[in-house]
């Protein structure tokens, strides 16, 4: 329960901090931290416009997308406190519930009949497909390391002692951050500020959404960021008491948002045809994490 509340609280200011960091880094005055939230509230007050070529799928997809993110957040624990749903193997549930949401957003993009949206959907599907093995190899390695299969038990029994565990922890953080960027279609893989439909990935998929639906999708992005931020924060928590974990959680979210902002300010987007290989690198790095876990366990020395 507590993790759901904290993630929703963090999601309120997450996008704002990214935008603020970007504006400071580029020397602009920039909007306030709550500007993205105000935009979402404005969108929530509006009605939606549906094109005549679309079917009911286009209308239900944003809600399903949003619901899938909420479902995924419910699985995430906070340190040793369980999420609302917690069972053996829930990280598989986490990945595929997000997958369902992504599937619906893809078919709703195809439903509009726009060729640009089909292209964006194809790219989104491809990039998510390449990011998936990285996540599973990473979580599989942690499962092997701790001997547990649910998020809460894995994170509660992760502890770092030897040199090699530090490098695993650094690599895991890097892999999770990059997976976040892929899943949210952010900077090194996709530029959220681009104005050309041909080079968009996620933005082009939501071109036809308006009003309430668009609000749901935009707020879903903030929630997804906060969700992955919570996952990363969990790597550091172990079994500390609550008065340490909550400041740690918000500190990590803040740090993550600033890091994303800096990354977006100072890197150029990868060329579209090179994206696949960069995403696949994550899987290769996860494989090395797996090797490191085997080393720690002494299965392999």
């Amino acid at each position: 329960m507590i993790s759901l509340i904290l993630i929703i609280l963090a999601s309120l200011f997450f996008s704002g901090i990214i935008i603020r960091t970007k504006s400071i880094a580029s020397g602009r005055k920039g909007p306030g931290i709550f500007q993205p939230l105000k935009d979402v509230i404005r969108l929530f007050k509006k009605g939606s416009v549906y094109s005549k070529t679309t079917s009911f799928i286009f209308q239900i997809a944003p809600s399903i997308y949003f619901a899938s993110i909420i479902m995924a957040i419910m699985v995430i624990p906070l340190g040793e406190y369980k999420g609302i749903i917690s069972f053996e193997g829930d990280f598989v549930f986490f990945a595929y519930v997000l997958g369902v949401g992504k599937f619906f957003s893809i078919i709703s993009a195809l439903d509009t009949g726009s060729s640009f949206e089909g292209m964006g959907a194809s790219r989104e599907a491809l990039f998510s497909m390449f990011a998936e093995p990285a996540f599973f190899i990473l979580m599989g390695s942690f499962t092997l390391l701790t001997g547990h299969t649910s998020f809460q038990e894995i994170f509660a029994s992760l502890h770092f002692g030897s040199y090699i565990s530090y490098i695993l922890w650094i690599l895991a953080t890097v892999v999770l951050v990059m997976i976040t960027m892929v899943e949210n279609s952010r900077m090194p893989f996709d530029d959220p500020k681009t104005h050309l439909e041909l080079t968009m990935v996620h933005e082009v998929m939501i071109l036809d959404n308006s009003g309430f639906d668009l609000g749901l999708i935009l707020y879903g992005t903030s929630l997804k960021f906060a969700m992955y931020g919570a996952l990363i924060a969990n790597l550091f928590m172990g079994s500390f008491p609550l008065y340490i974990t909550i400041p740690l959680f918000f500190g990590m979210q803040m740090l993550f948002a600033i890091a994303v902002g800096l990354l977006e300010s100072f890197t150029a987007r990868f060329r579209m045809n090179h994206n696949a290989q960069y995403i696949l690198t994550l899987s290769s790095v996860s494989l090395l994490i797996f090797l490191g876990v085997l080393l720690i366990l002494g299965q392999f020395s």
Binding site: Y163, I164, Y166, I167, L171, H274, A276, Q277, Y278, L280, T281, S283, S284, V285, L287, L288, L291, G292, L295, F300, S301
Partner: protein, 209 residues
């Protein structure tokens, strides 16, 4: 600690798979030299001081500084273009290098011998095969020499694994370095970049007696 350095070394191999420019290759080679210095320092601390100094100087000065600078100089002097020009797309390279790492990993598990240090074995063997792969799939002669330098880094790692028992093996590994330098000097002295306009291996076929 050596395990950490070896895992970083394996990551440099993956980076090598997706690098586009020759300058990146040179930077990776320099980084590998520094990593080898770290590994040698931790692993060989027990051998006698003179030999240790020699090995450490060889890794940090020659592998880490001299060869990268010299490669850079050769590239500038022979006006070699900065693209790596692989035969295969980088995406395939990345998959193949990952497969190489997995294969050596499985191979090392299949060898049921408690005397070999498996992590060294995996990293050394995958470095060897990656070097071979780089040689096979790149156009330019200078990338062939770089591939050879990578192979030789692999041999060096393998020799480090038993350096404490057989210091002579490490020195043998270093001799390979000298051999590679001769290659480099050959390119430098003959100015291959100028004689054959494109520095392309395909044109070497026209060289006959």
């Amino acid at each position: 600690m050596t395990n950490v350095l070896l895992i970083i070394f394996a990551i440099t191999l993956l980076y090598l798979g997706i690098a586009h420019r020759l300058l990146t290759y040179i930077k990776i080679l320099a980084l590998q030299g520094v990593l080898l210095f770290g590994i040698a320092f931790i692993e060989l601390i027990e051998i006698n001081a003179a030999n240790l100094t020699f090995v450490l100087l060889e890794t940090i000065v020659i592998k880490g500084i001299a060869i990268p600078l010299f490669l850079n100089y050769v590239m500038k002097r022979n006006r070699i273009t900065r693209d790596a020009e692989p035969f295969l797309p980088n995406f395939v390279s990345l998959i193949i290098i990952t497969l190489i790492i997995i294969a050596t990993f499985i191979l090392s598990n299949a060898i049921d011998d408690s005397r070999i240090s498996k992590i060294y074995f995996v990293v050394a063997l995958s470095t060897l095969f990656t070097g071979l792969y780089i040689i096979v799939t790149r156009h330019k002669i200078i990338t062939h020499v770089m591939g050879y330098l990578i192979i030789e880094n692999g041999v060096f790692i393998l020799s480090l694994a038993l350096g404490n028992e057989m210091p002579a093996l490490v020195n043998l590994g270093i001799l390979l370095d000298v051999f590679a330098s001769v290659f480099l000097l050959g390119i430098f002295v003959n100015r291959v970049g100028d004689v054959l306009k494109d520095v392309d291996v395909d044109q070497l076929k026209s060289l006959k007696d």
